[in-house]
């Protein structure tokens, strides 16, 4: 066990995390050169394009150190977005150490700070690495100082490296061996293995990425899942190099995979502890949370006959995405579709994009919403996941909105701007603490305000330096109203929103004016109105187009005319016909473009 090191890499986008991981794999011969592609650990197209890691990945590497011994290094690549902060904390808790990779020319960025603090809280040893030192603009001394100031860890002797040019790779690996402690754990104790991540493979079913904390696990053993209480027979164990390689046993301290003939991701939840039926552990590893959907939105096929294939696509996506929830719903305006639950807005966007790209679906997504708690007149409590389902004000006693506690870390210079933003979002300050040059702000805020665009806004007012972490606190009574949108006099249920009364009129006005911009002119006038209760609070007109005709058409080249009309027709296919009005996809999400007062 002394020859094992489990570590992850914490880095801001573009600071070279994936390139560094590639170098480690190359240096240790995990893949042949011909198998190397850029950023091998990011396997989804969306991950590569957006430069974010959504699923955790690992690579077990054999490193022959300068002291002549061979070490087993397990590199665990972690996701990096606030929507996935739970996954990050699970990945980090599977490690004893983490490399904090900082671009030597750009310095510390916010995203790294939050993950760094998570790591430090979990007792993980964080070692700084200054990357890209071969750039002319590199200032390793200044950046080292910054790391000490902002994060508060020793950085003067941080390894100087360049993942791109291959400088200092071996030094980093030596640092991992000498500074990161080997895993502790008792091979003879009952099995305790942490599920770091799990995904569905078409051939073998669910694959679980685990960190064995105590004991050992072998094929043919009956496994007990401590949170879900499920039992499954272990079929295979092994490690990723990052190719999967079968082993006879995984022992305490090791990171690898377990395949146990599981058909549903729901029974292999991230953060759960696996033990054996024969010799069960007394208690589970700490930190397990049942991940719940935070944000809900309706997904509807543009063409109603695509409903079944949307269901199939969602079912397939869910195989690999335990956090995605969906159930059928019917909208008067949009027909049959699904109400889907997501971890956050990014998760929603990813699901939407994957449905469009991988499954070739044309979709209408309704404005995302959080869950509201409703106390009816008879005292019963129900939940509202769809704003259009909110009954009239007289039918219920009280409506409660979810409140979260947000922890924001921000350099002193931006505290004012961040506080202003939090106040705009109806936040209530709970705490403010100076930590070196950083300030930690704690706010209670309505989740509805946070899930929409708060993270982006926060980044922009703090020039990207602020970091955010939040957790659900409670449901709290609030003065909320339903904002309805009427198109040519007919209420479009899919456009209803729940908003705070104080901002309702402003939002209603902004929303219809945004929609006027997004709905193209058509053959007839289109009136867009916003209403609260029965009262119209705003109205905009999309004036009818006057004509749509090709000026010239002779016998000549009709193929071009035909292409033009085909293109125009295809454009309309991406719109949803509501009554006799064609509404484009973006208009259903217009509320996301409404700025704050």
């Amino acid at each position: 066990m002394d020859h094992i090191r489990n570590f992850s890499i914490i880095a801001h986008i573009d600071h070279g995390k994936s390139t560094l991981a590639d170098r480690f794999i190359q240096f240790c011969g995990g893949l042949e050169m011909r198998e190397m592609s850029e950023q091998v650990l990011d396997s989804m197209d969306i991950e590569k394009e957006r430069g974010i890691t959504i699923k955790a990945q690992t690579a077990a590497l054999q490193y022959k150190a300068r002291d002549g011994k061979v070490y087993n290094l397990n590199l665990i690549d972690t996701p990096g977005h606030v929507d996935f902060s739970y996954e990050v904390s699970r990945s980090l808790s599977a490690c004893e150490g983490a490399l904090l990779v900082v671009d030597a020319s750009q310095g510390v960025e916010a995203q790294t700070v939050a993950n760094c603090y998570t790591a430090i809280e979990l007792g993980v040893e964080v070692r700084p690495v200054l990357n890209k030192i071969d750039l002319p603009a590199a200032e390793p001394e200044r950046v080292a100082q910054e790391i000490e100031d902002i994060i508060g860890i020793e950085a003067a002797d941080a390894v100087r490296a360049s993942a791109k040019s291959g400088i200092g790779i071996e030094d980093i690996l030596e640092e991992v061996i000498s500074k990161i402690p080997p895993p502790k754990g008792d091979v003879n104790a009952p099995l305790k293995a942490l599920i770091v991540d799990s995904w569905f493979d078409n051939y073998v079913g669910v694959v679980m990425l685990v960190r064995v904390v105590d004991g050992e696990v072998r094929p043919k053993e009956k496994l007990q899942f401590m949170a879900t209480k499920a039992q499954h027979l272990c079929e295979q164990v092994g490690v990723f190099t990052p190719k999967s390689v079968q082993r006879d046993v995984l022992r305490a301290g090791e990171v690898g995979f377990i395949i146990a003939g599981i058909k549903e991701l729901a029974s292999a939840k991230v953060g759960d502890t696996i033990t054996t039926v024969k010799n069960p552990a007394a208690e589970a590893l700490p930190g397990f949370k049942d991940v719940k959907s935070q944000v809900f939105a309706g997904l509807y096929p543009v063409e109603s006959h695509d409903y079944e294939s949307l269901r199939d696509s969602l079912t397939k996506l869910k195989l690999n995405d335990a956090a995605l929830a969906f159930e059928p719903e019917v909208s008067q305006a949009l027909g049959f579709g699904f109400r889907c639950g997501f971890l956050g807005l990014l998760h929603l966007e990813i699901v939407q994009e994957r449905l469009e790209r991988e499954f070739d679906m044309d979709l209408i997504t309704t404005a995302p919403t959080v869950v509201y708690e409703l106390v009816l007149k008879d005292g019963t409590v129900t939940h509202i996941e769809n704003p259009s389902k909110l009954p009239e004000q007289t039918k219920f006693e009280e409506i409660r909105e979810p409140i979260i506690t947000a922890t924001i870390l921000v350099p002193q210079d931006y505290v004012g701007a961040v506080m202003t933003l939090c106040n705009q979002k109806r936040g209530a300050q709970r705490n403010m603490q100076y930590m070196g040059r950083q300030v930690m702000l704690t706010y209670d805020m309505p989740m509805a305000e946070v899930v929409m665009d708060f993270f982006d806004k926060l980044k922009s007012v703090s020039r990207g330096y602020a970091s955010l972490d939040y957790e659900f606190k409670e449901f709290q009574a609030a003065d909320l109203v339903k904002l309805d949108v009427l198109v040519n006099g007919d209420k479009v249920d899919a456009l209803s929103l729940i908003v705070h009364r104080s901002t309702s009129v402003y939002r209603g006005r902004e929303l219809v004016s945004k929609m006027r911009e997004l709905i193209p002119r058509q053959m007839y006038d289109v009136a867009v109105q916003a209403a609260i209760g029965g009262t119209i609070i705003a109205r905009e007109n999309v004036k009818a187009m006057r004509k749509d005709v090709l000026a010239k058409c002779y016998g000549g080249d009709i193929t071009r005319k035909k292409k033009l009309l085909e293109k125009q027709k295809a454009g309309k296919k991406r719109m949803k016909q509501v009554g006799n009005v064609e509404i484009p996809q973006e208009a259903f999400l217009a509320i996301l473009q409404v700025s704050d007062k």
């Binding site: 006057r546 749509d548 000026a551 058409c553 002779y554 080249d557 009709i558 005319k561």
Partner: protein, 404 residues
């Protein structure tokens, strides 16, 4: 290489009658390429031929030879069918001499049966050099001129990159009057910086000039043109629509019938050649880049010839300049028919659809009735035509007939 189109595979499909046949002849050169033009036209090369705005006589003669050879190569496709009209378009056909036109028309008459009352139109540029040839063109047998005036406003003409001016336009019209009792003026509206009053001024001038036909086109910024890449400031959609309304009213008051999207005619002066296109008739197309549509009992084909004049001449020399030839599929036929026929204010007789496409009316009657219910079309048992709304939103209407 020429690709040969095969007969339509559906064995029970066929045309019971062949439509009238027209002849289109393309002349691919212009003194200068206009920035809005997306037709197959090529500026004369300076230094070589035409540096004084004239076409090299040898090239001209070679091209006429090629046209005659081209027509001969088409004859097997249209044995015995009379030609009902000829249209000489471009480019700028009036760059060619009257003698060349005479030689060409004589050669055509010798090879196909040209109906005695056939309309023979020539597109002409209102430049001084061209206008002086109008008499000769008339002597050659050309009986209709289509003059590319575009505007009578010097500033607008300049913006459009035209090489003539207002005075030249007036002079050309005056000369045209002397030799032709039937001529069209091409005008454009929604020009860069144009006001409603300016647009109407152009129309009034055209009416006063005594033309028998006016084509008023909304300036369109077509792909592959200079204007598309560097768009000028043109009137917005609402102003352009106002212009169209006003232009239509003004021409109606002057006795012009608005018979097609952009075409207006004095009684009995409709462009017969163009009507044939819009009624989904057949046409041979000879010359560089010319398109043809020819019906047979078992198929309907489209042909396109090589576009570059040099390529066309070289290919003709080798024996044939058809670059592509394809049969129109049965799925496409209804749309192609509608694309043309619904441009006409009078629409079409329902039986014309079956006659021209060989398809039963059931193929389209559902879409037609849907459009009637929405107020885009109106029909009785024999005839269907677009409503005012349908004419304005012709694209929306036509999309319905596109195959999925």
């Amino acid at each position: 290489m020429t690709t040969i189109s095969l007969p339509t595979t559906r064995s029970n499909w066929g045309l019971t009658a062949l439509p009238p046949l027209a002849l289109y002849i393309h002349f691919p050169w212009c003194v200068k390429k206009c920035p809005y033009c997306d037709f197959n036209s090529h500026a004369l090369k300076f230094g070589g031929n035409g540096d004084d705005g004239r076409l090299d006589a040898t090239l001209e003669s070679q091209y006429v030879d090629a046209l005659i050879a081209d027509l001969e190569s088409c004859l097997p496709l249209v044995w015995g069918r009379p030609v009902t009209s000829i249209f000489m378009g471009g480019g700028t056909p009036s760059l060619f001499s009257a003698e060349s036109m005479d030689r060409l028309l004589a050669a055509i008459r010798a090879r196909v049966k040209l109906l005695p009352d056939a309309e023979i139109t020539l597109e002409a540029n209102p430049g001084t050099f061209e206008a002086d040839k109008f008499a000769g063109f008339a002597d050659a047998g050309i009986n209709r001129l289509s003059i590319g005036i575009q505007s009578f406003d010097d500033a607008k003409l300049k913006a459009l990159g035209r090489i003539h001016d207002r005075d030249a336009a007036h002079r050309a019209i005056e000369i045209a009057h002397r030799h032709f009792d039937n001529f069209n003026l091409d005008l454009m509206y929604a020009l860069p910086q144009q006001t409603l009053a300016e647009a109407l001024q152009d129309i009034d001038t055209a009416i006063a000039a005594g033309s028998t036909h006016v084509s008023a086109y909304h300036l369109t910024l077509e792909p592959n043109t200079l204007f598309h890449r560097y768009p000028p400031a043109v009137p917005d959609d609402d102003l352009a629509a106002d212009m169209q309304d006003a232009i239509e009213a003004r021409l109606a008051a002057a006795g012009f019938e608005h018979y097609e999207t952009s075409a207006f005619a004095q009684p009995k002066r409709q462009a017969r050649h163009n009507l044939n296109y819009w009624r989904f008739g057949d046409y041979l197309g000879i010359g560089a880049g010319a398109h043809a549509k020819i019906s047979f009992p078992d198929r309907v084909i489209r042909q396109m010839r090589y576009k570059q004049p040099a390529d066309y001449l070289a290919k003709m020399h080798e024996g044939g300049a058809v670059q592509t030839e394809d049969a129109i599929t049965l799925e496409q036929l209804p749309f192609e028919f509608m694309l043309n026929a619904l441009r006409l204010t009078d629409g079409f007789a329902l039986n014309l659809f079956t006659e021209r496409t060989g398809l039963p009316l059931t193929k389209v009657i559902h879409e037609i009735d849907r459009a009637c219910a929405e107020g885009l079309l109106e029909r009785d048992l024999e005839h269907v035509k677009p409503t005012e709304q349908g004419r304005r939103f012709l694209n929306t209407l036509l999309e319905r007939f596109l195959p999925d």
